[in-house]
């Protein structure tokens, strides 16, 4: 299948604009992706023509809104290989999905002293702080996998880390800093053997790779809409239905109940149990449209394009003097997110000079401060790619880095 990146770019109006007098070179898709007209049009049409609240109205608009909202759920379920749309819970973002699980599983498992939760040093703060707080609340112990010098998950102490004491393992599927894609098969197998549940933070993988929850080995995954061509304000928790059915609610209120009396409440089945209050309806429909767009191009083709771009970028960056790449230096087992340092120049200054040239990258600790600490730097510069990234944009990045070296040389 041939992938026509120039054709794809025409669907994204933002590429028509300039930044600081230069054509926009957007290399920050791991932060948030740009949106195609196909998504924007669907959201606007919904607001203009079909708007009504979901799951409670008998009128036509309410019915049409509910159909669109549930239709989006079904397409998203299909996109990730879920057994049923009921396994897809809409949340605000990945962070809310992970907090939901930390609270609900903590209660369901009656977590306490002697129990262990295992994460890794590679986590985004969203898959780290909720577990720290859970352990503080319950007295359970938090443990973690380290990172190897080449930016891989260090599984050498797997059998010690994941043991009969382990109740939950929660890991990032693809690192938002290093780009590493974690092959979790060994960890999933070990977790199963000891009776621990496995959650994966798929915020950076679902947008970029073909992913099938039926063969992934996880019990729960989280991802977010705005990194996969959808809007902000909508995320997804996927969980095995038999597991979701046992989990107590997180947020409480309207829409998540079965029956309410002044003396007590019984709760709806999943996914409604976990969707208290009016949900982000338009955003969910927008995410459904994003999934249609991605499916139309094919996730395998998108992944292949990003592999090609990443290979090109790794070559280009390693040929710039003074640039050090953090994470895997070849495309094997990594995605299109590349973090690097420029010798003697702070990432803020790198980012500022690149911005003056229209090149938008992320700088800082990327909400994953322990990853920066692991490599003994306070911050990194990160370029991240997507289906619309071109080799010409990588060339612009490399030219920008030459300019950085001139200013700070």
């Amino acid at each position: 299948m041939s992938f026509d990146v120039e054709r794809v770019r025409k669907d994204f109006p933002i590429f028509e604009r300039e930044v600081n007098g230069h054509p926009l070179v957007y290399l920050d898709s791991a932060n948030t992706s740009q949106k195609p007209v196909q998504v924007l049009d669907v959201m606007r049409a919904h607001q203009e023509r079909y708007n009504g609240n979901v799951s409670r109205s008998v009128h036509t608009l309410g019915t049409e809104s509910t159909e669109a909202y549930e239709g989006a759920r079904a397409r998203i379920a299909n996109f990730i290989g879920a057994a049923s749309p009921d396994e897809v819970v809409f949340t605000k973002n990945s962070t809310e999905a992970i907090n939901l699980v930390a609270h609900s599983l903590g209660q369901m498992l009656r977590l306490g002293p002697g129990d262990e939760v295992v994460i890794s040093e590679m986590e985004h703060h969203s898959n780290l702080v909720p577990w720290q707080l859970l352990c503080e609340r319950t007295g359970a112990t938090l443990r973690w996998f380290g990172i190897t010098d080449s930016g891989r998950l260090d599984e050498s102490s797997l059998d010690d880390l994941v043991s009969e004491r382990t109740k939950i393992v929660s890991l990032v599927h693809m690192s938002n800093v290093l780009g590493t894609i974690n092959d979790v098969s060994r960890i999933a197998s070990r977790a199963r053997d000891v009776g621990a549940l496995l959650m994966l933070d798929c915020s950076q993988s679902v947008p970029h790779l073909p992913l099938d929850v039926s063969s992934l080995g996880a019990d729960l995954i989280a991802f977010t809409g705005h990194k996969m061509l959808g809007p902000t304000g909508i995320g997804v928790l996927w969980g095995r239905l038999d597991l979701l059915a046992q989990m107590p609610p997180f947020l409480a209120g309207g829409s998540m109940i079965e029956t309410v009396t002044m003396g007590g409440t019984t709760f709806a089945a999943p996914p409604a149990r976990f969707e208290a209050g009016t949900p982000p309806i338009t955003e969910a429909i927008g995410l459904g449209a994003a999934v249609d767009y991605l499916t139309g191009l094919g996730m395998e083709a998108i992944h292949q394009h990003e592999q090609d771009i990443t290979r090109y970028a790794l070559d280009a960056l390693t040929s710039v003097p003074g640039v050090r790449i953090f994470g895997p230096e070849t495309v094997e087992g990594r995605g299109g997110t590349v973090s690097f340092g420029v010798d003697g120049v702070h990432p803020h200054d790198v980012g500022q000079i690149l911005d003056a040239l229209g090149v938008e990258v992320r700088v800082g600790h990327h909400c994953a401060r322990p990853v920066c600490s692991r490599f003994s730097v306070p911050a990194m510069t990160r370029a991240s790619f997507y289906l619309y990234t071109t080799t010409a944009e990588i060339d612009a990045l490399a030219r920008g880095l030459d300019q950085v070296r001139k200013v700070f040389g």
């Binding site: 702070h346 200054d349 003056a356 401060r369 306070p378």
Partner: protein, 151 residues
């Protein structure tokens, strides 16, 4: 290029050759500040008479040059003069480029006028000044006002 206003030669000079860098003893007050969005950090130590100001940290050219300028401007001043300088620098940084900097008071600090036009970088320039203010307070010296930093 628009960056000329941001990366003035004076700023780059202070970044490459910082004045007074390194933590020294004795001191009467110390403060450690971080910029949580970017991870920049600075520790400032001051003596009660402001005759000794020392600092160390990690950060971008703007935050590190700003610490160097602070050291150059404020060390050895009395509390009233330090307050005046502190106030003038904070006002300049919050001006969005609308305030004329007074070189008599701010010396090399006027080079930061351009930084005020980059809202994302104002916090970088202010980081050492806010740490200095807290360190001074712990040494018993009240310096300047406590503005809310918007960026």
């Amino acid at each position: 290029m628009m960056l000329d206003g941001l990366y003035q030669e004076i700023i780059l000079d202070h970044y490459k050759n910082p004045h007074g860098r390194g933590l020294r003893d004795p001191y009467d007050g110390e403060a450690h500040h971080v910029n949580p969005t970017c991870g920049d950090e600075i520790t400032v130590r001051v003596s009660h008479d402001l005759n000794e100001i020392s600092y160390d940290g990690v950060g971008c050219s703007i935050s590190q040059a700003s610490a160097s300028v602070l050291h150059e401007l404020v060390q050895g001043k009395d509390a009233a003069a330090a307050s005046e300088i502190h106030h003038a620098f904070v006002e300049l940084m919050q001006s969005r480029g609308q305030v004329e900097a007074d070189e008599e008071i701010l010396g090399d600090g006027i080079a930061f006028a351009g930084v005020a036009k980059f809202p994302a970088r104002v916090k970088c320039a202010l980081l050492p000044w806010m740490a200095f203010k807290d360190a001074a307070a712990r040494a018993g010296v009240e310096v300047g006002v406590s503005p809310e930093v918007k960026a």
